[in-house]
């Protein structure tokens, strides 16, 4: 193996991708993944740093140098299992985590601008495991020895937070039921992130795995409306409940013309296409408007996904309209690059002020205003201020608003006694415990719109805390010979 000095000269191995012109018109995955050879070459660049700065950059502290060392040794399965000690959804996180601001940002090679492709390697071993070996359940540390079979635990919401909590609780032996309001599980992974970035087959595989652990999934249940948390606890005997209902409430611009035909929230647009499969209309019955000239407002992952989806549906021209500058764009770096390569145009430092509709009620244009950056605001980013007299009109026939999402209100509105903050997020302690004694929460419903890995980490922490709680209550009662297990 080359020494450190030689390794420093090695270029970062870039992951092969579909050709931009071709991929801009299909829904197949953009990034094609490493081959074993490429993965081992890239893994060979890792210095196995003793102080492993990358691990500190990872929200769930995946043992990065260790799993990379296993790749170098050719033990791909071992590498996958190493990751799963901390991250139960590596095939997903390897694809969607913002590595450039997490692990890869801390990598010592990062200072030279070519950090180890940690995300790509994570994805590689997870895909390898899925294709070559039956998934071996990683062990979950248990808080006590009691048998947990028959002790019912509920999980509300099937996004990454809920799926992770459900898997860990099932591995501990609990009888777990997941309740999901939509007709298919997965949360944002199902209805938000498109096929070309996260193939649904990968999500389906995770769901099948969950079912193989004995987890029951009941769809078409909006907890709060269809059944209350209190009813799940007192009537249906769920001893502890995890709430991972996400941030699904779309923010709107609140400008004139926003209710014109042809103005979508990104959530609606993506849900129609991903969950309802409108890209296969009319075989699937849900339609979606395919614009010729599309403007997407915002510059986060949601905006990039919406813009690139519009392109794939057949739009001629798609642009991003964002009120700050390139530096502040919150999307994953890779997706911004991908969008640009595919021909998406960027109107930066521009802010919509009104949407124009024709006499038929359909969008005809969007009036924007130029902005410049002033003093930093509460978020630390420089505040955009309008430039007087700088209005211009974009000629568009479809507008997609992707400026953020708030906490999903269905459950929280209908659960008395559940403490919320002023944004409507559920208040919890570090382990996810809420103001209700038998309820934990985690993911976007607690933090506001964040990341898949943060949601997953919260699900894991809550599962441990719920196990500790059940060990000291229901299971302790069982140990003492008192039958309390069923409600």
């Amino acid at each position: 193996m080359p020494g450190a000095a030689d390794r420093a000269k090695l270029p970062r191995v870039e992951m092969p991708k579909q050709d931009p012109r071709q991929r801009a018109r299909n829904f197949s995955e953009v990034a094609l993944g490493f081959t074993p050879e490429l993965a081992q070459t890239e893994a060979g660049r890792c210095l196995n740093c003793r102080n492993h700065p990358c691990v500190d950059g990872c929200p769930v502290n995946v043992p990065i140098p260790e799993f990379i060392a296993l790749i170098v040794q050719g033990d791909f399965l071992g590498a996958a299992q190493k990751i799963k000690e901390k991250n139960s959804l590596p095939a997903i996180c390897g694809r969607v985590c913002p590595q450039e601001s997490q692990c890869e940002a801390r990598c010592v090679w990062g200072k030279k601008g070519k950090p180890i492709a940690i995300g790509g390697l994570e994805r590689f071993v997870a895909d390898w495991e899925r294709e070559h070996a039956p998934q071996a359940p990683p062990s979950v540390p248990a808080a006590c020895e009691s048998p947990r079979r028959g002790v019912r635990v509920a999980v509300v919401g099937s996004g990454p937070a809920g799926l992770t909590a459900a898997a860990d609780l099932a591995r501990l032996g609990y009888s777990v039921t997941v309740f999901e309001t939509l007709h298919a599980p997965g949360g944002v992974l199902r209805y938000g992130i498109p096929e070309f970035r996260l193939p649904k087959g990968i999500l389906d595989h995770e769901i099948e795995y969950l079912k193989s652990l004995g987890v029951a999934i009941e769809t078409d249940v909006a907890v709060g409306l269809t059944v209350g948390l209190d009813e799940l606890h007192h009537r249906e005997g769920y001893q502890a409940i995890f709430v991972g209902t996400g941030a699904g409430l779309p923010s709107l611009l609140n400008i004139p013309g926003e209710n014109a035909n042809g103005v979508y929230s990104a959530n609606e647009y993506l849900t129609r296409v991903n969950l309802m499969k409108a890209y296969r209309f009319p075989e699937y019955a849900t339609p979606v408007r395919i614009g010729h000239k599309v403007a997407v407002v915002g510059a986060g992952n949601v905006a990039m996904d919406a813009a690139r989806t519009a392109l794939r549906l057949g739009a001629d021209d798609v642009c991003i309209v964002y009120r700050r500058s390139r530096q502040e764009m919150p999307a994953r770096h890779e997706e911004i690059v991908n969008a640009e390569e595919e021909g998406i145009r960027f109107h930066l430092l521009s802010n919509p002020v009104r949407i124009l509709a024709g006499s038929d009620g359909w969008v005809q244009g969007m009036v924007c205003q130029r902005m410049e950056l002033g003093e930093p605001d509460a978020s630390g980013r420089r505040r955009p201020v309008p430039v007087p007299g700088s209005e211009f009109t974009l000629d568009v026939d479809l507008v997609i608003v992707a400026i953020g999402q708030g906490p999903n209100p269905i459950l929280t509105r209908h659960t008395p006694g559940l403490q919320l903050d002023r944004h409507g997020c559920i208040v919890t302690d570090a382990d996810g415990r809420t103001s209700l004694p038998y309820v934990w929460a985690g993911g976007d419903i607690v933090t506001g719109a964040a990341t898949v890995i943060a949601a997953m980490g919260a699900g894991k922490r809550a599962a441990r805390a719920m196990d500790a709680y059940l060990c000291s209550t229901v299971l302790a009662g069982q140990r003492a010979g008192v039958s309390e297990g069923r409600g």
Partner: protein, 290 residues
């Protein structure tokens, strides 16, 4: 899956289904709706509950064949099942004793009106019901309305039964004759609700309408169902579907209901569906095999 226990034709093109959905039935209140999907490839469409039986674990849906999904539903019979039923959704406003209530139902809007006025009747109000349709054979649930109202008026566009004309005209006559309701509740097509509001507005009578916006999720996650009420954007599925009719922007609602007109035609025509599927198949590259 949600089994259909009974299905019958109420009028040409209008079907009534009794569907097993115990969780929904347990929590249902007058004014609630459900979002259903007929099959694996179906749309999510909202339907207001026409009735329910918590003990039997069933809900009753009344559906008029107007688009692709409702036509598909029209072909279902007892023994079939709906792919999905989510609910009960929406706010169910509390029903109190307020005096006299006039309930106005147009077309298939009579179905969701029924449990609402029954609720008012049970709460001790005097209930006047007005039901209308294009013609006599399209007038549904008349007997059920009669049972839970103190007074029932009918109207048909062609005069085949009741008043020859619109329900809003019957309402106007009642109000002119001195009836002073605490509230008017109107459920039906947008032009009908609009006409009702034009009658009640000058007289300052509180008027509630139930809006039939296009929906996807039904839980506040898409905003597709947004309507302007008093100049403020509201989501029909979580803030409604009932709103203050005097504040609703009906013109905008009507416009938003037209959004998929051209696609609906495509979806409804079986020959076109096949054709379009074929060319789309060529467009969409093979997707991931997991």
């Amino acid at each position: 899956m949600f089994p259909i226990l009974a299905a019958r034709l109420l009028a040409p093109g209008i079907h009534e289904f009794v569907v097993q959905a115990p969780r929904v039935a347990r929590k249902a209140r007058p004014g609630h709706f459900v979002v259903i999907r007929v099959d694996e490839k179906g749309e999510r469409i909202p339907l207001t509950l026409a009735d329910w039986d918590a003990e039997a674990g069933t809900i009753t849906l009344v559906v008029q064949e107007v688009g692709y999904s409702t036509r598909l539903m029209g072909q279902l019979a007892a023994g079939d099942a709906l792919q999905d039923v989510l609910g009960p959704l929406g706010t169910a406003p509390p029903i109190e004793k307020v005096g006299t209530i006039i309930g106005v139902g147009g077309g298939v809007g009579v179905a969701p009106l029924y449990p609402r006025i029954r609720g008012y009747k049970q709460a001790g109000n005097r209930v006047v019901a007005i039901a209308g349709a294009r013609s006599r054979d399209l007038l549904i649930m008349v007997d059920r309305l009669r049972e839970c109202s103190d007074e029932l008026h009918l109207a048909t566009d062609d005069g085949s039964v009741g008043h020859h004309g619109f329900v809003s005209q019957v309402l106007e006559k009642l109000l002119d004759s001195g009836v002073r309701p605490a509230e008017v509740l109107a459920i039906g097509p947008v032009p009908m609700m609009r006409a009702v509001v034009e009658v009640t507005r000058p007289r300052g009578i509180p008027t509630t309408v139930s809006l039939n916006a296009l929906m996807v999720d039904g839980t506040g996650m898409c905003g597709g169902c947004r309507v302007s009420v008093g100049g403020v954007t509201r989501f029909t599925c979580v803030d409604g579907p009932e709103f203050d009719g005097l504040q609703v922007d009906f013109a905008e609602l009507q416009q938003r209901l037209q959004q998929y007109r051209s696609q609906e035609k495509l979806a409804a025509d079986p020959a076109q569906r096949k054709e379009a599927c074929r060319c789309l198949e060529q467009l969409t590259a093979p997707s991931f095999r997991g």
